[in-house]
């Protein structure tokens, strides 16, 4: 089985390498877009981080003073901490839920298609709309709890630091679990049925099959989905901006929000650019780290099958 599967694969790869000279131009459109809308603005931001600019007047060179100000500001470690907290918690909530839902939706149970439609609804809404809706529902005076006279729901959801963070993690998860479930569903469907048949012949039950076949086979999907979650959580902005605006105080002020507030509310484009550069570096480091964790991407997943 292994040898049969692998030969055509390697043959394909080598033929790609051989022809890469003639097809390199195919990367040009993507490269041009990346340079124009990714690299150039990034260089612009790097340049701005060494200047003093209020967004209105002339730009003045400022040397490394912005970097010194931001790096010595106690607001930075706080914003980093909040960002990582949101990242970790939302990963920890989303991954198991999305995995289980994905496996469930890949199966052939009754009503599966109908339920799947319901799961996907949050994916169809914009973050701002979701945030406005939750803000209204969670309002301690006019919200769901007050309307139904349920004291359990009548908390100061967005007014207490720990609760507000919890609400953000919950809403983020609610919004993105459908997306990740979709990824897992696709991946589960690609696992060869022969593996399950072999396992069934060996007498493995549902739980054992899940832990010994499904989960190992989804390794790369877990890494892909986690990368999307982790790097994506660095840029959470709209949802938090509408829900809490970083509050109460600065309890939910993540890096992206800190950047916006410094740049567009306090008119300090220089320090805001420093934060933008830090965001890029953190995102790159995390993406690389996750790739490392996944091991070599060329290793076959079919080994032992």
């Amino acid at each position: 089985m292994t040898s049969v599967e692998q030969r055509p694969l390697t043959a394909l790869t080598s033929s790609h390498v051989g022809r890469s000279g003639s097809v390199a131009w195919m990367t040009l459109p993507a490269l041009a877009v990346f340079v124009l809308f990714g690299l150039l603005p990034l260089l612009g931001v790097l340049g701005l981080s060494f200047t003093r600019w209020d967004g209105l007047g002339a730009i003045h060179a400022a040397g490394a003073s912005n970097w010194r100000t931001v790096l010595s500001d106690p607001g930075l470690p706080h914003a980093l901490w909040v960002t990582f907290l949101v990242m970790l918690l939302s990963w920890a909530v989303q991954t198991p839920a999305a995995l289980l839902l994905g496996v469930f939706m890949a199966g052939h149970q009754r009503y599966r298609a109908l339920l799947a439609v319901f799961y996907f609804i949050p994916l169809l809404l914009s973050s701002a709309a979701i945030a406005i809706t939750y803000k209204a529902l969670l309002d301690p005076n006019f919200g769901l709890g007050a309307g139904l006279h349920l004291s359990l729901l009548t908390q100061d959801w967005l007014g207490r630091p720990a609760l507000a963070l919890g609400v953000i993690v919950f809403v983020v998860s609610w919004q993105f679990i459908p997306f990740h479930s979709l990824i897992y569903q696709g991946a589960v469907r690609q696992i060869p049925a022969s593996m399950y048949e072999a396992a069934a012949l060996d007498g493995a039950g549902r739980v054992r099959t899940f832990f010994y076949i499904t989960l190992p086979q989804l390794k790369y999907t877990v890494i892909t989905s986690s990368t999307l979650m982790v790097v994506g959580s660095l840029t959470f902005f709209d949802l938090i901006f509408v829900l809490t605006a970083g509050g109460p105080g600065d309890a939910t002020r993540v890096l992206a929000l800190d950047m916006y507030i410094r740049g567009f509310q306090a008119n300090l484009m220089g320090p805001a650019s420093v934060i933008a550069v830090i965001l890029v570096l953190v995102g790159l480091a995390l993406a690389l780290l996750l790739r490392r964790l996944g091991g070599s991407t060329t290793a076959s997943q079919m080994e032992g099958a």
């Binding site: 005076n141 809490t244 109460p248 507030i261």
Partner: protein
């Protein structure tokens, strides 16, 4: 590039505006395209309707020179206008609050000096309250025309709730602190507050600073004195604020309530909160949204009461002496001329002045006082003469701090105010953080 900014802005304003959508030439049907004269202002009734009406009347009378308006929500506007102006995509007519924000436009050479405009149109200058020109002046020169209304911050209360617990409106800060436990015991929030907007909480500090130490306390800060936030009166005012927060003086969840949604006003007129410190502009919206709350005479109002032992004059007030409109220096000569014609002929004309008065506001014109006698509605008449007296008789009418200070210091101020109300920093820490940005 010109086309890029405008459609987005239009789309956004269409989402956020709950009032009537753009009418007449507002939709850009005037055929003027990107060369036309543009005007950006705020949503929120009844002000929005009056602003639209003034532009529409000008457009009707001047078929060839149309002004196109775009509307924004308050907090969104503050950032959008700065970004647009910085990118050279700003409107011809720039609406604002004067003060520090206007100064940053002047420093960046983005607005035209209007001294000659007022020289050419002396009757325009003559009809406006002299006190309103302060925040339009930068480095001794005029850069904006005061428009719309003068809106002091007012102490409101719900008369029904006071009757319910048998209490009288507070005559002093001590009375306020005494009232708090009485309302809390009945399950009524003492004060409504839209704390997430932050400038709402700031109004408390503005009054307490003034009542405890007089207008000099903030003047010293504004003048950039070192350690000005550590003046004894300032520290006492900050401590008194936290005392009120600690006593549960503000409605539960105040730090997640925004003023843009008018939820803070709703708390007062639905009887969930007994008192509120808020701008005079909320009278109109409470009248419109609050059922028979205002028309039934349940809304009480007065100037902020004195603090026992304080040296401030209890007739002082704070707020917005006016709104302001400037002309973009990046606009073409043609656009600037249309804008000037609009300001000279239609802005603050008799029709608009009457509409402001009918909506329960005092416009920034001297003739407003004479027109009050023609108001037939008993509640409106009493309200209007109260606002007129408060504004015109105040020994000091201080501009809102976040408008008076430069934008960078204002943002630090609002940030620290949120933390002060959250009790996450002490008055001392607040003063240290603020001294760093306001001392020059």
């Amino acid at each position: 590039m010109v086309g890029l900014g405008v459609p987005t802005a239009l789309a956004l304003s269409a989402c956020s505006s709950s009032g009537p959508s753009q009418t007449g030439a507002g939709g850009g049907t005037g055929g003027s395209g990107k060369g036309g004269t543009s005007y950006w202002f705020l949503t929120g009734q009844p002000q929005q309707g009056i602003r639209e009406d003034t532009v529409n009347r000008f457009n009707k009378a001047n078929a060839k020179t149309q002004i196109k308006f775009t509307e924004f929500q308050n907090d969104a506007f503050k950032q959008k206008i700065k970004t647009a102006i910085g990118a050279g995509q700003g409107p011809t007519l720039i609406w604002g609050w004067g003060g520090g924000g206007l100064k940053s436009y002047v420093d960046a050479d983005q607005v035209v000096e209007m001294t000659s405009f007022f020289d050419e149109n002396p009757d325009v200058k003559d009809k406006i309250f002299p006190s309103a020109f302060g925040a339009a002046t930068v480095n001794g020169k005029l850069y904006a025309m005061p428009i719309e209304t003068t809106t002091p911050i007012v102490f409101y209360w719900n008369k029904k709730l006071f009757d319910q617990i048998g209490a009288e409106p507070p005559q002093s800060w001590g009375d306020i602190l005494d009232l708090v436990p009485k309302f809390n015991a009945k399950g009524i929030a003492p004060f409504s507050l839209g704390g997430q907007s932050r400038w709402t909480s700031m109004m408390w500090l503005e009054f307490l600073f003034d009542r405890i130490g007089g207008p000099e306390v903030f003047q010293n800060i504004f003048d950039g004195q070192a350690d000005a936030w550590k003046q004894p009166a300032a520290l006492k005012a900050l401590a008194e604020t936290q005392k009120l927060v600690n006593a549960d003086g503000f409605v539960k969840g105040f730090s997640s309530i925004t003023a843009d949604s008018n939820a803070d006003q709703a708390l007062l007129y639905t009887g969930k909160a007994a008192m509120m410190v808020h701008g005079a502009w909320t009278y109109g919206s409470m009248k419109a949204d609050g059922g028979d709350f205002v028309t039934g005479g349940d809304l009480g109002y007065m100037n902020f009461p004195p603090v026992d032992g304080g040296s401030g004059d209890p007739d002082d007030t704070v707020g917005n002496p006016g709104q302001y409109v400037s002309i973009s220096s990046k606009a073409s000569k043609e656009q600037q001329d249309v804008a000037k014609k609009f300001l000279a002929t239609t802005m603050l004309d008799d029709t608009e002045v009457k509409k402001w008065i009918d909506s329960g506001n005092i416009p920034v014109v001297k003739s407003a006082g004479d027109q009050l006698s023609s108001v037939t509605d008993k509640n409106d008449a009493a309200w209007l003469s109260f606002v007129y007296d408060t504004a015109s008789k105040a020994p000091t009418f201080a501009q809102s701090w976040d408008q008076a200070l430069p934008p960078t210091a204002a943002e630090t101020l609002l940030d620290n105010i949120a933390k002060l109300f959250q009790l996450s920093i002490s008055p001392d820490q607040f003063a240290d953080n603020m001294n760093k940005v306001t001392a020059t």
